[in-house]
């Protein structure tokens, strides 16, 4: 597009956009800044720079256990929901069997209802069949909340390429299964990777559904929620939060980059 001419610049709008960016980022930057403040109080004035809140994290075994639990839950939830969604996305985009919209709607329900209600519904169900709350119940809950997002990601990936690729493979003598390995999977791979990362982050970050399904083993957000009540533990939580934000932002940018690269490579001209 040329740099001059019809609708190419709008300074007031740009200034407004920058202002919104400031509004969005200010709280996060404040958290980051105070995580280095050498004071137990999160208040002005600054008392000097320190890394002691970060050091405090290294000796907290409860925190380490929660982090480990979150990683386990996140990895399993991401793997399972992405596999389920990949199969389901292939079904809805490639086969026109009746009832597929109803099935997709049912599975997508968690995106369409307040999380608290989903959490209590799952809790009532688990209680009614006498299942004890544990990491396993958290994993089930997370698979349920992650799958709709994985499904959206995978469906758009499947819609992004020509079904003729799979037909061509069948036509050249491959079976349905070998076609999946030789053609489908390589083509949807960028979607699989971004779905894995996205669902991991959703699981890793989830508080509300987890809150209802937690037994004695805590995930990181549940641990943080319990710590936020104690004012002497706040600075360490700020340090932990800053670490999480930085790491997950890097992961998300990776997802976005992979997604765009994937779209570029298989776009048929």
């Amino acid at each position: 597009m040329s740099a001059s001419g019809f609708m190419t610049e709008n300074r007031p709008l740009k200034a407004y956009a920058l202002l919104i960016i400031v509004y969005l980022y200010a709280p996060i930057l404040i958290l980051l800044a105070f995580s280095f403040n050498n004071s137990i109080f999160i208040a002005f004035p600054f008392k000097g720079l320190t890394l002691k809140w970060y050091w405090a994290l290294t000796g907290n075994s409860q925190l380490h256990q929660a982090l480990w639990n979150s990683l386990v839950v996140g990895v399993i939830a991401a793997l399972v929901s992405t596999i389920l969604a990949t199969l389901a996305a292939k079904a809805v985009t490639r086969y026109r069997m009746p009832g597929r919209n109803a099935m997709v709607s049912l599975v997508s329900l968690p995106m369409l209802m307040p999380e608290v209600i989903l959490g209590i519904a799952l809790l009532v169900f688990l209680l009614s069949i006498d299942i004890k709350l544990s990491l396993a119940t958290i994993i089930i809950g997370h698979i349920i909340i992650c799958t709709p997002y994985a499904l959206v990601t995978m469906i758009s990936r499947f819609q992004g390429y020509d079904p003729a690729y799979e037909e061509a493979s069948l036509d050249l003598g491959e079976t349905a299964l070998s076609t999946f390995w030789r053609v489908t999977l390589p083509l949807v791979w960028p979607g699989v990777v971004s779905s894995l990362l996205l669902t991991f982050l959703i699981s890793f970050d989830d508080f509300v559904v987890t809150f209802f399904l937690t037994g004695t083993e805590q995930t990181l957000p549940i641990f943080m929620w319990s710590q936020l009540r104690f004012s002497d533990r706040l600075p360490a939580m700020l340090a932990l939060g800053s670490l999480i934000i930085v790491v997950s932002t890097v992961l998300l940018i990776l997802v976005e980059w992979l997604r765009r690269r994937g779209e570029g490579a298989t776009a048929t001209p």
Binding site: A168, S169, D171, L172, A265, T268
Partner: protein, 361 residues
């Protein structure tokens, strides 16, 4: 044509919900034939091709290839291979990997596999492109990859879905010649789908014209053009002038037709379809015009030249005749500008006896 059809499509129908995409089609295609399915979009030609390949299952009827019924044969076990409209050249594989894709199943020794791939690449003039990725190829090159990939399987039948539609005009004409030569050299039966009449004529031995899921006519290109079976076929294949006509008399095996302001003609009774509405038809290039009436012409009338257009290798003239609802189109390859009539000129147009068709609607 041999007696035994190589591909036999026997009363095949395909319904999608209430839509009859293909409606009771029967066709026989011989071994080594270059056969075209021609029709406007939505006429069912692609569905028919996909049923031969095995991607769609007939609702009724059956397809035989080389004597074998195909009903329970999935696409990966059929003796057919397909060149897709989008070519479907796998974007994540190189040219060489694409061409060799279908050989994996055949478990060949690696030297044999390499030899077959080299042969196939040579056949489509892509030697040396082995390591390229599809996004580094032009449309024409991608099509060659798709061709080589299908032909390397040594299919009994090669199916092509609008093989040239994605190419620009000049490349399309080049590839037409090449496809034709290729088919001659490999001797495989080719069945291809197109909406382009010129392409169908240029490539094929026989053409089946399809409308609304049915085959309207199957014939050689020349016979299709000269003896279309209906006004619809005639109108789809090239241009045609149609005139209303009324039967006024019938005796000794001939019928007299009144063609309005153009006069009357006598035609053999067997040429006039019975019990259905019909029209008299003539191709634009067979309509003559001159300053004086030509007595030998069966149909003639005084006409006024409404306008003309110079098309390069020929010119098109549009005439109005009093009493005719639609203008008459004539086409000549007059190259002498001085002898061109001026717009508004009063002329006699005529149609020679032998070049008049009577077609059912």
């Amino acid at each position: 044509m041999s007696d035994e059809a190589f591909i036999r499509i026997d009363r095949v129908s395909k319904h999608f919900g209430n839509v009859r995409a293909v409606d009771n089609v029967s066709l026989e295609i011989s071994q080594g034939e270059f056969f075209a399915l021609l029709g406007p979009s939505g006429c069912g030609k692609t569905t028919l091709l996909r049923m031969i390949a095995g991607f769609d299952t007939p609702t009724h009827g059956e397809i035989f290839i080389d004597g074998q019924p195909m009903a329970d044969v999935p696409p990966n076990h059929r003796p057919t291979n397909m060149v897709f409209q989008s070519y479907a050249v796998f974007p994540h594989l190189t040219v060489r990997q694409n061409v060799g894709y279908g050989l994996r199943r055949e478990r060949l020794a690696s030297e044999e596999e390499a030899r077959r791939i080299d042969e196939a690449l040579e056949l489509v003039h892509l030697t040396g492109y082995d390591a390229r990725k599809p996004n580094q190829l032009s449309g024409g090159q991608r099509q060659r990859v798709a061709l080589a990939r299908a032909l390397i399987k040594r299919p009994k039948v090669l199916l092509l879905d609008e093989p040239l539609a994605a190419l620009d005009k000049k490349l399309r004409e080049e590839m037409q010649m090449e496809l034709r030569a290729l088919q001659r050299s490999v001797g495989i039966t080719f069945v291809f789908v197109t909406h382009d009449q010129e392409e169908a004529f240029a490539l094929s031995d026989r053409v089946a014209v399809m409308f609304d899921g049915r085959v309207a006519q199957t014939d050689t290109p020349r016979r299709l053009y000269d003896y279309p079976a209906s006004t619809r076929v005639a109108g789809f294949i090239g241009q045609m002038n149609f005139f209303d006509a009324i039967e006024t008399g019938r005796q000794n095996g001939s019928v007299t037709l009144d063609v309005g302001p153009l006069g009357r003609i006598e035609v053999p009774a067997k040429d006039v379809p019975e019990g259905v509405p019909f029209k008299v038809a003539a191709r634009p290039e067979l309509i003559t015009f001159s300053t004086l009436p030509e007595n030998s012409h069966a149909l003639k009338a005084k006409a006024r030249l409404r306008g003309h257009a110079f098309l390069g290798d020929r010119s098109q003239f549009i005439f109005d005749v009093d009493g005719l609802a639609r203008p008459i189109i004539a086409m000549t390859s007059l190259d002498d500008e001085a002898s061109m009539p001026k717009d508004g000129a009063e002329l006699w147009i005529g149609i020679p006896r032998d070049w008049i068709n009577v077609l059912p609607e």
